[in-house]
């Protein structure tokens, strides 16, 4: 008998094992010039095993069929690895055909799923992602059906070529089976992303992360980073509970980094251990965005039509929250929870430190603000200005944005003004040092933000002044100086748009159109607000104001496609262009009557 001649079953198993080693271990060392050398040798061995197998008729038809399927699978993977897709497909198809009647049996289910995973990969290589999707979804369905109907740890495909005494433990079997299924989900996440099924892709990413935790198949830092990034997806969907859960889990898992790994993982250390402080700071930055978005979304809910806190809306939302609090959250939560019991406890403890519901008053907003501010400090520890200019400034900008949104919740105008002053104090020194040669974009952002902040402070001072019976000279001075600063930064921004010969562009590029127009509009308003007892000076200011308003109107006449970007501003400007000359005329008449 042929099998006997080759040394019988043990020899067959030996060949099979050798082929797997060649394919998985040796092939990594193949030279660039012969990249598939070991894969080809592995293939030859597998073919040999196939020959021997048909001759050795032991164990009956069913066993033989499964062994053949294993070989077809290995050959299929081998061919796809060596870029022979059609041959690979044939082998994989033959594997699934052989298994079709037994696919739900513990002997075959794992192999069947892995064959379908590979068919999915194969079809994606042919740019036919929908076909890939059908294979992967059917693998997913098979797993679910098997777990429902049987659920015992199934055989690992490699076991079909093992002697009885080498066979795996149930624990190991289950681990490998679950891993194959995790891969199915991981591929599906990619398929859905390619098909622009974003929500589904996110859900599968989430599940993949979850399973990595459950089956201990993860690197802490990489896992934490992925979870933190996923939280940013949830932020964009305003799913704050999910975002917080991802972040809390990221922080908890991150803290495992660098700990002594469990015995079975000793050979695998995490790739980017030396970047730990940077990774930690990055997770902190994701937390900052969480706090910021939560506050900003809450502001949007609470705003009235002039951007102030609407007390009716506030009461309404508070009542609504009370009603919903208990029912909704618990149901959603079960689906997304990460981790086994002790990890889960730490994650929950982490979550308790910050709310995931919209803050509705200053107290609640302040608590979220403070958490955000702590993460600002943590992130800044690594992203120092010396070495990480861009990152550092982004963090400071976030800090300023946190103050800005907190100010919305503050009812006292004086205190609100102080918050804006804090923003000025953190942004101005950075702006002063920054070289526009390399950081033009950031410079412009800072110019606009500083201008807007001064503008807002001036408005607040005017509002405070209006409550007084008579404006005192101190307030007047304050208002004027704030207005002057705002004008200064708007002008700096507009200057940055000039070409190297200092000429302002005839037509503004689309991306700076709105900021430039708003800057012009605000400057016009600011000149209108400047307070002076000197009528001549006042006339001059009105004249300047008119010029800026006119710029807007003329520009939009010349380039009508600019109109949609600044509709409100344009309307007001038109009004002012009509009104101002008359008021100036009146002022002039008054002036001349004194002469």
């Amino acid at each position: 008998m042929a099998a006997a001649a080759g040394g019988g079953w043990p020899a067959v198993c030996g060949k099979f094992r050798a082929a797997r080693t060649l394919s998985a271990v040796e092939s990594l060392k193949d030279p660039e010039t012969e990249p598939y050398r070991s894969k080809y040798s592995a293939r030859a061995l597998l073919q040999e095993v196939k020959q021997l197998l048909s001759a050795a008729e032991e164990g009956g038809e069913a066993v033989l069929a499964v062994r053949r399927a294993v070989l077809e699978y290995e050959l299929g993977v081998n061919h796809t690895d060596t870029e022979e897709l059609s041959a690979g497909e044939e082998h994989l198809q033959r594997c699934t055909q052989l298994l079709e009647p037994h696919r739900l049996s513990p002997d075959c289910v794992s192999l069947y799923i892995q064959a379908q995973n590979n068919l999915g990969i194969l079809w994606s290589q042919r740019d036919e992602i929908e076909t890939a999707q059908t294979y992967l979804e059917s693998a997913e369905a098979l797993y679910n059906q098997y777990m429902k109907e049987d659920g015992n740890p199934p055989l690992d495909p490699s076991e079909h070529f093992m002697a009885e005494e080498e066979k795996l433990t149930d624990q190991e079997r289950s681990k490998r089976f679950e891993k194959a299924y995790t891969h199915t989900l991981y591929y599906l996440a990619q398929v859905y992303q390619h098909l622009d099924m974003i929500e589904k892709a996110a859900q599968y990413c989430h599940t993949t992360l979850k399973r990595q935790l459950e089956y201990c198949g993860y690197y802490p830092v990489e896992w934490a980073r992925n979870a933190a990034t996923l939280s940013q997806y949830y932020l964009s969907k305003e799913c704050f509970m999910e975002a917080r859960h991802c972040l809390a889990a990221a922080s908890v898992i991150f803290s495992q980094a660098g700990q002594v790994p469990s015995a079975e993982d000793v050979d695998e250390t995490e790739p980017d251990q030396q970047d730990l402080p940077e990774r930690k700071a990055e997770i902190a930055r994701c937390w900052i965005k969480y706090c910021l978005n939560l506050l900003q979304s809450a502001r949007k809910l609470l705003e009235d039509n002039i951007g102030e806190l609407d007390p009716d809306r506030q009461l309404e939302l508070k009542a609504q929250r009370k009603k919903e609090e208990d029912e909704k959250e618990t149901g959603r939560k079960k689906a997304v929870l990460f981790g086994t019991s002790d990890i889960c406890d730490s994650v929950l403890a982490m979550e308790e430190k910050v709310s995931s519901v919209y803050p509705l008053d200053f107290q609640e907003a302040r608590e979220i603000f403070l958490v955000g501010q702590n993460y600002v400090q943590e992130a800044k520890e690594f992203f120092q200005v010396d070495g990480y200019v861009t990152d550092h400034i982004e963090i400071v900008q976030d800090h300023s944005a946190l103050f800005k949104v907190l100010a919305f919740f503050e009812e006292d105008y004086e205190r609100r003004c102080k918050m804006h002053k804090r923003r000025i104090d953190m942004l101005e020194p950075i702006y002063a040092d920054l070289n526009p040669q390399y950081y033009l974009l950031i410079c412009r952002q800072l110019q606009c933000e500083l201008a807007d902040t001064y503008y807002e402070m001036m408005d607040l001072k005017v509002a405070i002044g209006n409550r007084l019976e008579k404006l005192d000279s101190h307030t007047v001075k304050k208002i004027n100086s704030l207005a002057q600063f705002a004008i200064k930064y708007y002008e700096l921004f507009l200057d940055s748009l000039r070409n190297p010969d200092k000429v302002f562009p005839e037509k503004l590029e689309e991306d700076v159109l709105r900021p430039a127009m708003v800057a012009k509009f605000h400057i016009a308003r600011l000149y209108g607000k400047l307070i002076t007892s000197d009528s001549k000076k006042q006339l001059e200011n009105m004249q300047t104001s008119l010029e800026y308003y006119t710029f807007l109107v003329d520009y939009c006449e010349k380039y009508p496609d600019a109109v949609p970007a600044i509709e409100t501003e344009l309307e007001l400007s038109k009004e002012m262009v009509n009104l101002l000359p008359a008021s100036m005329e009146r002022l002039r008449a008054k002036l001349s009557s004194f002469v």
Binding site: A24, D127, Y187, T208, L230, N293, G387, D433
Partner: protein, 378 residues
Amino acid sequence: MAPGVRGDLRDSSISLLNSPSVEGDAVKVFVRVRPPSDRPALTDGDQGLCLSVLSSNTIRLHSKPEPKIFTFDYVANMETTQESVFSSVAKNIVESCMNGYNGTIFAYGQTGSGKTFTMMGPSDSDNFTHSLRGVIPRSFEYLFFLIEREKEKAGSGKSFLCKCSFIEIYNEQIFDLLDSASAGLFLREHIKKGVFVDGAVEQVLSSAAEAYQVLTTGWRNRRVASTSMNRESSRSHAVFTITVESMEKNNEVVNIRSSLLNLVDLAGSERQKDTHTEGLRLKEAGNINRSLSCLGQVITALVDVGNGKQRHICYRDSKLTFLLRDSLGGNAKTCIIANVHPGSKCFGETLSTLNFAQRAKLIKNKAVVNEDTQGNVS
């Protein structure tokens, strides 16, 4: 190949188009068609070629069923000399550099399309006085010619300082080609100086001859490294940077201008196959490694489509794009030389190079004179 090197360059050039504040001069794009190699490939006449140059700025690609016509700032045909490539591409940028603007010249294209020939010259010669020398050595000559002329004109009132560095980015690691002993350099940022390679050797230059010397040493190191350390030069980017500082004294006021000139030989563009730009292909899980390493990329892509919400993405851009951020839609005068091989065999790569170049034309830069006035007027 690290994931994302070439792909990121492409991606960022596209994403910069949408970035909120890019404007001004468009990136200039030149296409150069190299002659098919020395072997007599022309035996079957024009049949063997997949493209023809129609005029000094249009090129026709013989695609089926419809041929495609591309328009660029300049198209150099097979007969174009090194000298004429230099004058139409680099001269202007070197001049702007003297006037205080930053400038960058990239060579892009598949391996074998003539990037190194265009930038450096014939590969077997270390002698940059050769008549076939490329853009980089010619830029040295012209730069120092201009400096000498300025000095003569301005007398003792004006002085110049030139420094250069030469680095290679391979597998997302930075190597200093002027110091073969160093390894693993890092990119850092300075609030005044922008992005720089921390610890890279900076050599002071006073003449073109010295610059050749530095270039030769660095180039030799690159070749040595590629053989001894199993690095493949077609997979690495080489960046030669010259800093030109001028100081002009006018009574009490000192005017300092500084500018950077980056000359970049990019890795072969066909390597983009290794990255996610290749289309729909799924990333496989490692067999041994438990890392499902592409998951992060998938998640990042999900976050990318976020609708204007504030978010932080934990995966930084590649070393090359970070280093050359200014040159791609930043504050610099930039030109890209897209090199193509006309052989029909190269049709696919040529098409993708021309498509890339077409997109690159849409990138806009805003160049600002880098001037810093010190001293007291009062």
